[in-house]
Symmetry: C2
Subunit: 338 residues, 2 copies
């Protein structure tokens, strides 16, 4: 039976676009079907001042081409002065904090949360959201769980600071989300679908390796339920992370799953499978609009239960990126962009 | 300070030698420093009759060349007749059971344990040991733990059947080992050293990906303590598994760590680090001799705390295999083989 849904202004609240040739390849693949996205600042060097942020934004706008698309820029967290924050505020959606070394290009990140509280305080007072890659340096399956006490601490200590728990992967994180009103979260496509089994249970699959790593079945189930029920403080954030194929299919593969071009269709398939298609609009756009107070470019994306063959790779100048579900058939596809 | 230990007749109680060109490369790398090894039968087709077993043994003897080396042949578990077992018994050390699909070339394995009990019963009566790849098809971190009840069941139901829990990876398995006198276990080098962190905590490392997958820090600690204390029913079994480099550094990498050429030196380094060098002889040979009632070829291997650069690969005709610790320096090395 033909089924379809029209989504208004889908938003990707956590996106890596990289720079240079990769940016030119990746940006249109998101901009075609999303109204806007929160752009991660973990370049080398990091996007940690207004000049870099505005220059990067311009390169994104150039790369996007003819698509209507809002890049919501995030600044890389460091200790900022009040003046720096004041002039940057209107140009950004928030500040992204990386524990030093937790993921790709995060070496310049924060070493101790409590040492940077003056910046949190200013952000709270100025209404600047904090976005956090919430992992410790502990055992890989425990890193997010161990970080939760930091969320708990920050949410209590700065009750007016809006804190986004980025790309949550555990049932414990869903519980923490419910504990404080000023916590919100993003969740990726892959963490709604896969577990560690898919990464390392059969053959080792580098294209499903990401940070935080996919966890246990009961974790996936808790995340999926929260998404399907359109939890009011949970937003879609793909964490789509293009790496050149030679950094993935090699010895010592980089972390990140490239989902941008297939995310909307795959989410429609997932929500439909669980008879929750009506909740996808809230998950993929409305929650983010409310929580961040943003009004994205109007874009109507119609998704239909018509099969779509995912290509083996997306190829640009000097770039070759393998998407999630490469060479597989999705049951849903984007049928119209208006 | 110069330190050394001379090991008498080291035994590798769980070894993959493969076949063809790979066998020719891998066999001498074990035979040089080990007196003997239990040879896994998961070829394609499996080594599941006496003819195949004797032919494979001859190919191993040929591949070993001038080294003194005892290949202890294992038969691939299936339902055997009493007559088949009777004629095969003197040519083998035991029968290896794979749950169907649990690891490399195990598609012909057992689908339900209770359906094959007549063969267990005959093995028990004839004094033929059972060796088991003990994993369910559950979530990758739970597979061994979930299988433990099968060990418990078999050990109770067949109290005179000697059952080896192959390549144990969890603290729970160490506990199970202590529960029944007719259970014994092998443990690999890598599971004494690494956790899932080393496989997937930083970059994804295909050369440390194996089945069972490396588990949590507390699991490694329990295994290490049992080995260092020379637990009387724990034996060294490398599970060294050579895969051609193109099956490892690729998309969808095969499971197995190649440790044979470095195992003895690395174990000496590990036991020395914990001031337990005196227990290495029991772990690497004496326990196996007692538990299996074998008298291996006499071989004296002297290991010294002199540095050794592990090569990037071992290369044979059409074969290129990357060992554990490739390009790293070990603190100990084999200084004399007598």
């Amino acid at each position: 039976m033909p089924k379809q849904i029209t989504l208004r202004s889908p938003l990707d609240m956590h996106l890596h676009l990289r720079d240079g040739d990769m940016l030119k390849l990746a940006a249109p693949l998101t901009a075609e079907s999303f109204s806007g996205a929160v752009i991660m600042p973990n370049l080398v060097p990091p996007v940690d001042n207004l000049d870099r942020l505005l220059e990067y934004k311009q390169r994104i706008v150039d790369a996007v081409g003819q698509h209507q698309f809002d890049p919501y820029m995030a600044l890389f967290f460091r200790q900022y002065s009040e003046q720096e924050l004041a002039i940057a505020k209107e140009h950004m959606i928030g500040i992204k904090l990386y524990p030093a070394g937790a993921t790709t290009n995060s070496e310049a990140g924060v070493k101790a949360i409590d040492a940077v509280e003056p910046t949190f305080k200013m952000m709270e007072e100025m209404g600047i959201p904090l976005m956090v890659h919430g992992e410790t340096h502990g055992f890989v399956m425990d890193r997010e769980k161990e970080f939760l006490e930091s969320y708990d601490y920050l949410a209590k200590k700065f009750p007016k600071l809006n804190i986004t728990m980025e790309h949550i992967t555990t049932a414990d994180a869903v519980e923490m989300l419910d504990k404080h009103e000023n916590l919100r979260a993003t969740v990726t496509l892959q963490h709604l679908i896969i577990t560690l089994d898919d990464v390392a249970g059969g053959m080792l699959d580098p294209h499903l390796f990401c940070k935080p790593i996919a966890k246990r079945p009961e974790d996936r189930e808790a995340l999926l339920q929260a998404a399907l029920e359109a939890h009011p403080r949970l937003m879609f954030g793909s964490d789509s992370a293009p790496h050149p194929i030679e950094k993935k299919e090699c010895c010592g593969c980089a972390a990140g799953v490239f989902t941008a071009p297939i995310a909307i269709a795959r989410l429609a398939q997932l929500f439909d499978k669980h008879d929750k298609l009506d909740n996808l609009q809230v998950f993929i756009s409305d929650n983010a609009q409310k929580l961040y107070g943003i009004k994205p470019t109007e874009k109507l994306i119609t998704v239909t239960n018509e099969r779509f063959q995912v290509p083996p790779a997306y190829v640009g100048h000097n770039q070759h990126v393998v998407p999630m579900h490469a060479n597989e058939e999705l049951e849903w596809s984007i049928s119209q962009i208006g």
